[in-house]
Structures are given as C-alpha cells and as structure tokens.
C-alpha cells in the first residue's frame, strides 16, 4: 500500500487571501515579491457551453470584441495602454470560461485594475471593430484548425462525442453563426455574463495586499451587480455504442484517435483518468511511447490528454502512424495498451513514477505569477474554491493503483468512445 507522505502541496502551499465585493465580484490576492511584476486576471464563468445553438463560437468571438475598448478607451487603445506600460496582455476562451489577463511591471498594477474594470463596466465596440474581429476569428480558425494537418481532430471528435451538450461544437465555433450575430446579441451577452457576480479577479505578484484591496474596491465596487447567471444543466445521454468514422485529410501518415467519455473536471475519477493518460503518454518511458514508438515502431507520435471540462469531458488518445502502418494496426496496439492496464493494473514502481512527475510539474506550474493567477482563477471558477490549488496535488496522490485499474475498466470501454481513423485524401473512395 502507498503510505501518505508530506506532499509538495503541503510543504509549498500557495498563499492567498480572498474576499467578495458587495456586487458579487470575488477577489483573490497572492503576494510574491521575487520579481517586480504583477499579474492581473479576470475569469468570467462563460464559455462556449453557454452559447445558443445558432451562435456557436460567440463566446470566443466576444472575447475578441472585448479588446476593442470602453467608454473611456478608444479602439486600439486597450493594448496600447498595456504595452506602453511595459506589459503584455491576452485572453483565452474554453467551453466553460473566459480569461483575460495582463502582466505588468508592479508599479503599473493600478493601470491593470483600471483596464479590467473598464472592460467589466462599460465595454464598447464599434462596427469597424466587429467587422474586423469577425474576419480575424475566421483567419484564426483557418490557421489553427484548417491549414494544419490533423487540425480538425478536436472538431471531429466533439461533433461525435456529444449529441445534446454544447460541447459538441468547438470554442472557435462556426463562421455562419458569427456572420449572423447582431448588435442585440452583443448587448444581451454582455449584460448576462459580463457581470461582477459572474467573475473572479486575481491580482498576483509584487503587491501590497492592503493597498491592492483598496484599489480593487475603488475600481470595481461601483460596477452594478447583474442578474444571477444560470449555468446550463444538460444531461448528455450515453453514446449509442462505439462511434467510428473515417476522416480524409491532407496528410501522408494515417492517424488514429480514440476519445473516451470521462467524468467532469474536479471529480475523483477525473484525476484517476488523468493519471491514466499520463501513464500512457507522459515521458519517454510511458506505455504508448514504449510500445508504439520504441518496441513496435508503429507510430511517429503518440499522445493521451484529458479535456478538463466542467461537465463530463473526454480523454483523447492520439497516434500518428509510421509510414506504411495502417490505422487498424495502430488502433490494435493502442487498445492492447489500454487493455493491459485493465488486466494487469499498475505496478507500484510505475505508480511512484507518476507521483514524481506530478510533484515536479506542480512546482513548475506555479513558478510564475501569471501561472499562479491563472491557477487560482481556474480553481475558483471550475472547482468552486481557490483553495483547491493547494489540495489538487493531494487529490492525485490519494489515488491508488487499484483506483487506476478500476477507472480504466470503467471509462476506457468501447461503448464510451469515438474512434476516428485519419487517412490521406488520396485514399478517399471516388464517388
């Protein structure tokens, strides 16, 4: 049996304080004076799963629009303020949340608060901004999904893995829906989701907590609270059975994707499945790497990932074949490795390896204030409490090899999965 040892989380906890403003904005502060910089992040609890069926991609598109300015910031000025102050800024959107952040020299902390409060209070976008960003998002889609070999994997998997849940469409969305979006959509979305009671503000780095608290109040307290946000409650039915399909792409080497329906981020079994994915592909000695790349030489690349969705998500296993290897053969080898876990379990030494990798990763993950800010905001938004940042590692470490074997048997089954074979276009049967 594994004995509990003092974990990295216990010995190197991330210190933070938190409070709520009367308007419902949750605020988290993390003080670290190692470097004179500060990260300011705001996470809104809205993502593509909050979209209407005919506005797929709207949340991400809206994220682009929220750089266009505010009542006090003209088009193009938002980023200029940040860069002129020596900082960087960006944002990202997932199925569940949208995150905006700046990393600034610490003496510019107030600037970051001003910018984020402007964005929350009275964002503004003109027609030129809407038209331009719609085109920009189209190019983003082309660049990241369409002009990349195997770039459509996520889109093709989601489409088949979900039938009811909005996770069935990708965050980038579909262009016809963005073309259809109108001013009423922007106004309604902003009013509904971009309210302090649906957001968390994190300020991390070289700060004085008392002063930061005051300034946060000064910039954010007056922002009106919005109506309570109702997160969708969607019961995705089980798959009708194993879903299989063939995708023809501009590729030379075939690939195999197996995507399994898995529990939601934060649940005990999510961590078990995530550890299984690490067992399969994290490091050169991981199972898919050793079996498919080294021993059988069937693959040029292997990977196993968890999609940490707020609602039940997916584990995606992916392998690109070596030249001359057919996908059926590759799939058999992938299945054999998954089957071996179910049959034989995970030996203690290998389990220790997973723990050692996690421990190192945890330290590296929180080595920068921007990373800490993101992790705190994510823990609060997705797991219900920032404190989860310090217990997440323990939740992994509490698992046993038996838990992993059990999770493999429960989740890595044919009736829970979508299997895609990617083949070169030249192999497409002529109609």
């Amino acid at each position: 049996m594994m004995l509990a040892t003092p974990s990295a989380a216990q010995t190197r906890a991330i210190a933070f304080s938190e409070f709520d403003l009367p308007n419902g904005l949750h605020v988290i502060l993390h003080e670290d004076h190692s470097t004179p910089i500060v990260a300011i992040g705001v996470m809104y609890h809205v993502g593509s799963k909050n979209e209407d069926k005919d506005r797929r991609g709207f949340a991400h598109f809206f994220e682009h629009l929220l750089f266009e300015g505010s009542a006090n910031i003209d088009r193009g000025e938002f980023s200029r303020h940040v860069e002129r102050a020596g900082g960087v800024l960006n944002a990202n959107t997932t199925g569940d949340r949208t995150y905006y952040y700046e990393v600034l020299p610490s003496e510019q902390m107030e600037l970051g608060l001003w910018l984020e409060s402007e964005r929350m209070l009275h964002a503004k976008v003109d027609q030129k901004g809407v038209d331009t960003q719609r085109e920009v998002v189209k190019e983003e889609r082309r660049q990241r999904y369409e002009n990349q070999p195997y770039g459509s994997i996520l889109i093709e998997v989601l489409k088949r893995a979900y039938s009811v849940h909005p996770y069935q469409w990708p965050t980038i969305g579909f262009m016809e829906d963005l073309n259809a979006a109108s001013e009423a959509d922007y106004k309604a979305f902003y009013k509904k989701f971009y309210v302090p009671n649906n957001a968390v503000l994190v300020v991390a780095g070289d700060i004085d907590q008392a002063r930061t608290r005051e300034l946060v109040g000064r910039y954010f307290a007056d922002i009106p609270r919005g109506a309570d946000v109702q997160q969708p409650v969607i019961e995705e039915p089980p798959l009708p059975g194993e879903v299989r399909d063939v995708i023809y792409d501009r590729i030379q080497l075939p690939a195999v994707v197996t995507a399994y329906r898995t529990p939601a981020f934060g649940t005990r079994d999510f961590y078990a499945v995530d550890l299984l994915n690490r067992l399969l592909s994290n490091g050169n000695s991981s199972r898919l790497n050793v079996a498919l790349k080294e021993e059988q030489q069937k693959a040029v690349y292997v990977g196993a990932f968890s999609l940490p969705f707020e609602h039940p998500g997916l584990a995606i296993h992916f392998a690109i074949a070596n030249a001359g290897v057919v996908p059926e053969e590759l799939e058999r080898s992938m299945d054999a490795e998954v089957g071996r876990i179910m049959r034989e379990g995970v030996p203690p030494l290998e389990f220790e390896k997973l723990k050692a990798q996690l421990e190192t990763e945890y330290v590296a993950d929180n080595s920068r204030v921007a990373g800490v800010a993101n992790n705190l905001a994510t823990a609060h938004t997705m797991l219900g409490s920032a404190a989860q940042i310090n217990s997440e590692l323990d939740r992994y470490l509490a698992l046993t090899p038996q838990d992993l074997q059990q999770a493999a048997a429960t989740y890595f089954t044919p009736e829970r999965r979508v299997v895609l074979h990617y083949l070169p276009l030249s192999q497409k049967p002529q109609p």
Binding site: T35, P36, I37, N72, G76, R80, H81, E83, R84, A85, G86, G87, V88, L89, V103, P105, S106, E107, Q108, M109, E110, W114, L115, L121, T132, V136, K138, E139, E140, R142, R144, N147, Q148, P149, D208, A210, R211, E214, R218, R250, I251, Q252, L253, N282, G283, S285, S286, N289, V290, K293, E294, Q297, V300, A323, A356, E359, T360, V363, S367, V369
Partner: protein
Amino acid sequence: MISAGQPRTSRVTLVGLGLFLSLSMNAQLNRSRPPAPGPAPTVHLGEHETFTLKNGMRVIVVENHKLPMVSVQVRFDIPPIVQGEKAGMVDLVGELLAAGTERLSKAQIDEQVDQLGASLATSNDGIYASCLKKNLGTLLPLVKDIVTAPAFPEREFAKVMTRTRSGLQQRREDPDAIAEVVSRAVIYSRTHPYGEVTTERTLDNVSVKHIKGYYQLFFRPEQAYLVFVGDLTAKEAKGLANQYFAGWKPTRPATIKNEDGSEDMEGLGRVRMMPKVAVPSGTRRVNVVDRPGAAQSVIRVGFPLNLQPRDLRALSAQVMNTILGGGVFNARLMQNLREDKGWTYGAYSSLDADRFNGHFHASVSVRTAVTDSAVYEIIRELDRMVNEPVTAEELELAKRFMAGSFGRSLEDPRTVGRFALNTYLNGLPENHYATYLKRLDAVTVEDVQAAASAFLHPDQAVVLVVGDLEQFEEGLGAISMDRSRPVLRLDEDGALWEEPITPVNDRTAEDVIAAYIKAVGGREAIAKAAHLRRTASGTLKGRPLRYTEWFAPGRKYRSESIVNDIPVEEVIHDGERAARRGEQGQEELADVDLQELVFFAHPVPEADLEGRLDRMVLAGRTPVGDREAFKVVFMTQHGTTIADLFDTESGLLVQRVEEKYMDGRNVRIVTRYSDHSEYHGLLLPSRIVRTGHPTGRMELVLDAVDVGPQAVAVPFATGLPPVVEPAEYVTDPGDGSREIENMAPGDGGEEED
C-alpha cells in the same frame, strides 16, 4: 517605466498611500484617464558565478532558492557545418545522444528520467535537464553518462531513421513546416548550413559512423559550458561539476586539414565550415510552394543578415523590429494586416542576430484571396520603415515594452544562466545585460532609422508563399523584380518544382488530337458549327465580366469584353488584318500578335492545324488535380509554344498553358476548362478559369452557344485605315534616328568593307 538604478519605494510610503486612498474612496473616481504609475522598483539582475574545470569545461552557476528545482545544461560551442549530401545528420546527433550509453540502454535512461519526475532533452549542441533539488544527485550521473559516453546503438539509429523518414512525409503536408524549411532554403540557399534541407536521399547517406564522428569532433570539454541554475549553492555546484565532469578528457580525433579550410576525419569524412556569410543580394524575388485548395497562404518575407549579437547596432535593430512586427500587438504589421484589414490572426517579424549568420523575416498566414495584397503590404511596411522616421510614441512604446519584457524574463532564474551563456558564446562585454536597460533607454528615432537602413532590404527580399498558386499568381508576379521568372515554383523541399511527367509510347500527339476531335463531337459537327457565337459571363480580377466571341469561316473573328457594364476591349479579325480597340484607343495587331489571334480564331483550333504548326509533341502523362492528362506541346509557326492537356479518359481539353513575354515580363498563362456540356453537337467546356494573365484572374461560365450565319451577324470590319506602302524611306539626319536607307535588311547595321 522600469529603469535601472531607481531606489525601491519604502513600504512606509505605500501604506501611507493606501490610507490616503481609503479616505478618498468616496471621492469621484476619474475613469477617463489611465491611472499614473507608482514609483518604479529596481529591476534586479541575478548574479552568476563562473569557473573553469581542469579539462577546460566552463561552469556557470546561478543560485536561486525560490523553488526547490535545479536545471543542468551542457552546451557545446559548435560552428555550423555544411552537411551537403548528408543533410539531416546533425539533427540526428541530437535525436540519438540520449539513445543509450556504454552503461545504459535507451529504455533504462528513459525509465530513470521519468522515475525522477525529471525532464531531459538533447539537441545537436548539448543537453538540458531539470528536476527537483532532491533528485539532482540521481539525475546528474545520468547527464554525465549521456554527455561523456553515448553509445549511438545501431538499433536505435534504425528506429530514429524510420521516424525521421515518416516525419519528412508529414512535414511535406504541413504548410507551416514547409514555410519554415523552404524559407530558410531560399533566404540562405540550400548549400548554406542554415538553409540545407533534409530529404530521404540525404538521409540515405548518413550512418552511425558519421554521428559518432561528429560527436567526437565537437562534443569536447574545452568547447563546453556547464550551466547550473536553481536551488543549489556555488560550492555545491563546484563539487558536483568536479565530481562528474572534471575527469572527462577524451582524445581529440585526428583530422587532416585541406587547403580550402575543410578537414577530413575518419568516420565523419570531410567537414566543411560555413563558406561565407550570406547577405542580402539580387533583387526582390518570389517563390511559391503550390498547395491547391489551401485554406490559407503562409507567407514569409526575408533576407539573410550579417548581424552579430555583439554588433553595437543590434539593440537599435531590435527596437526597430519591435516597432515593425516583433512581438508587440501595436507593431505596424499587426496593426495593418490584422487590426485594420482583418486579413490574418497575427502578423510578425523577427530579426535574428546570429554570430555566424543572422536573418530577418516577416511572417503571416492570410486567407488566399488577399495573398498578394498581404505581401505588398509587408514590402510597403519595410519601405516605410527605411524611408520615414518612426514616431516618438512608437519608439517609446517599443522601448517600454522591451524593458518590461526584460523585467518579466528575470522571473525565471534560468534567464540569468542564459544571459551568462550568451555573453560567453557571443563574446559580449561582461556588463552587456547589466547595461541593457540604460542602453535601451538611449535609443533614438535616428538610431532606429539607421538600423532600418542597414538591416531592412525590401528590394532584395525573398518572398515565399505556401498556398494555392492559381489564385494569386498574377498579383504576386507583379511584386517580383525578377522579370524573367516573376514567380518561381518550388517543391516542399525548396527545390525547383518539376512537373511530374510519365512518358507515353503507345500513341502519338496526332492520336491524342484525333481522340479530342472525336470527343468534342467529330469533324462533321465542328464543320457545321463554323458560324458560332459564344456568350459567357463571370469575373475579371473580381469585377463582373461579360465576354462574347463570334467565329465565322475564313478565320473571321470578333470578341467583346464588358467589365462593370462598360465595354473595355474589342478584338476583330476580318480574315486578313486584325485590330484591338481598348481604353487606349485602337491598334493594329500584326506579326506574332496577328498570327496568334488567327491560330485561335476557330471554335476548335485543334481541328484545323494545317499549315499553322512547326511541330507537335506528346510529352507524356501528367496529373491534373486528382485526374490524369496527356500533355501535347504545340510549337506554332509564329514561334510560340502552347501546352494542351487532354484528359486521359474523356479525351477532352482540360487545361492550356501558354508561356510568353507580356508587359515587360515572362508570364505563364494557365486556362482551365471544365464542366463540359453539349451545345449543337459539340462538347464544350461551360466553365473557364484563366490565371497568370497580367490583366488578372478570369472566371467564366458559358451562358449560350449559338450556331449558324444568323448567330454571327455582326460586322467583321476592323475599321483600320487602308495600308499605304511608303514609296521610299526618308532620311532626316536632324532627329538623331538611325539612317534607315543605309541599312541592308538583316545586316544589323554593320558595313562591309
């Protein structure tokens, strides 16, 4: 703004400020302006210690106890070499370095690294590893083993070769990877160490003995830096460095020096250093890797530079590049191509100072329709950078952003190690990084412009586009300054593209033409359609076009083009003479122009070639899209060459390629014919797309075909003035023109004596 040397504000002041703010909470907050920054803290540049081991290995230690982690790097100082026929060999060294040692198999190494939760990566100039401090004692012997006693096992070599070969196939379908490899090849040339391209053929020439030889020659302690960063003291590092590396004293392999500076070594063979530094040269040229149907065009515009990191102008060059496109969102390329035009997700430039050979490149992925416009805008931004001073605001933003980036980078203690390594590798002054912020602050508008003049070369830029050539060939050709080959087509490996063609022995060009005539409907049907009117509509360079042609016996011909409802061109052949009427008035078509018009003044020109051809040749079979065609090359009596492609199954004409000199440059006009339908017994293409013509892309859909004399009841009179033969040549010595009457035809003006 962060600046070095300013005192850090005391905590007392901050608290006082906080109290003040809390008292003023109820005061009206002025949101209309950004808040002023607080007092700037000092940016503290971390320290490093350095010492040299007995075997010549230089050790750099950066002590930082913030996190319980340590990273270890061994970096060899290796000059770039020409790999030539063995291109790819150097990369394989990196792939194989950790693939087994005298003591351990690859599987054992991988297992040990993962058991420690460590990371370990090798490259062609060394190794980088990191782990929690508590595991350093186990990781370090492994790093030592990999660096000092790699085995390069044959079995692992074979596996890596298999993966590398597969990877080549994958790379050729990845537009970004193609752009990366081919842009280096066209910027530096394929014979330069930075531009060489690995192919299956060059991999065939590499074996383990080369890998071992390269390792023995270049992985040597006196050329190595050992860098420790993190949770350890300099004393500890010294102990570890001595314990694991001081005893490494490999014998230097014997080499024979040749006159040209190259060296020969047993196993490795001939080792050639970079022959000369590549610099901007020639004139602006355009290369394309064709990807029909591509979702986007991946664009690179670049040139090589002789710019070393220790060059005093390197910093103002970086400021200049930041303003142009280097990382800030407010850079000109990003603002122009994304925020103003909405053509791309991101546009960037990078200016790479390199101690051997630097380079500049701008990069962007855009939708196909704006490809040539995007290249044009990039060139325009380069021109503007060279010709106009930047604004004080732009300069200020770039400098502050760079200062901020410098400050942020110091959050990672490995940055300090990197700075130290850079200082030694590039021969920088010891205080290079300590003075960075001060030097940055001093850069002026004039410095930036001087850097632009010195390091940007829009007229010598090498353009590479990976995309759907057919869609933008004309526009791109106009940007090229190479008039003989405005657009050079390359393959995915950066070599000249060659049309894949398979010889055909079972038929002749005449057979293919006969099959074509039959497929169209036969000679009889063609003869019946001697009077024919063809009406089509579509677009010319995106504008609405209506196009009508009339054919009558005796090669009488007339055509009309109407763009945007305005007639723009009329061409008429009355059977003897021909005229073109356009916006610039009327002109007579004579000589080659006339003969060319006559050649095509027939509904099916291939049905009546008698007396019009010098020769025709069946070149072979060639792929067209996902089908195949016979390629027939016509050499006309008037001296032009036309290549027609006939579908191998239907026999129909699917594509015509004309290469000629027009508007001051060589052009390659490709006309594609598709969607054949029957009109009055003739199977004619209902869709025609012409690309490569200087007037721009033309797309046409056939609206109607009518036959019979009624259909061609239009005038075929050219309206040209009658030809008057001059009675004699007049010499006017006053106008400086040549004296025609003294010239005998064909003698070029030379006089016999």
